[in-house]
Amino acid sequence: MTNLLYSLGGVLLFTMGFFALIACSHPLRKILAVNVMSTGVFLILVASAYRPESAGNIDPLPHAMVLTGIVVSVSVTALALVLACRVQETSNLAFLKQQRNGSEESGE
């Protein structure tokens, strides 16, 4: 019962994050949404492995997987945030450049 409750919570987190990822336009919000999504996946994974104290040892593999996942998501979040800043930073620049050159060069 506990497993199911938390797992369903995880599912809802996942889909909420998914919707926000598509619907929201602010880059930071998108990154937040991805983080919520990944938390949802982790919650499903850990919750479905849960068993009460009396039932014996918990499978440690999901915990290890989630640890890996959390570390990965933190590093990806950091990269995405810096990229988002760069996008913001260069959007002014792109505007300037378009005015000067009349067109936008691709590549290089």
């Binding site: 506990t2 409750l5 938390y6 369903l8 809802l12 987190l13 994050g17 849960y50 945030l81 988002a84």
Partner: protein, 107 residues
């Protein structure tokens, strides 16, 4: 038994509510703050799931580091937005603008 159940339901509901608020609220700063509290509550949920390792990692990484990361990014973005054009640090700033002209010279 029922007390635990109540706790579970309350925790999951709070988590979901926080997630919804942080995704739906209009103020992005508020969203980030909500995200930090979301991370802390998640740590509680991991403890409840008998996953102390994950809880420690979530508390330290999720709330302790991702939050500041978001905050500093937010600050930086706001600063960028305020200035029409930044004139500090990055060495290729002017190059970007001049690149087009430069290239025509080299042909």
């Amino acid at each position: 038994m029922t007390l635990i159940m109540l706790f579970d339901i309350l925790l999951v509901a709070t988590l979901l509510w926080l997630a919804w608020r942080l995704l739906a609220t209009e103020d992005i700063f508020k969203a980030v703050v909500l995200f930090i509290s979301f991370g802390l509550l998640m740590a509680l949920a991991w403890v409840r799931m008998r996953a102390p390792d994950v809880a420690l990692a979530e508390a330290a990484l999720g709330a302790g580091l991702t939050g500041p990361l978001f905050l500093s990014a937010l600050r930086r973005m706001e600063r960028i937005r305020k200035e029409e054009r930044r004139v500090d640090t990055d060495e290729d700033r002017d190059d970007d603008v001049k690149a087009g002209n430069k290239r025509k010279e080299t042909i």
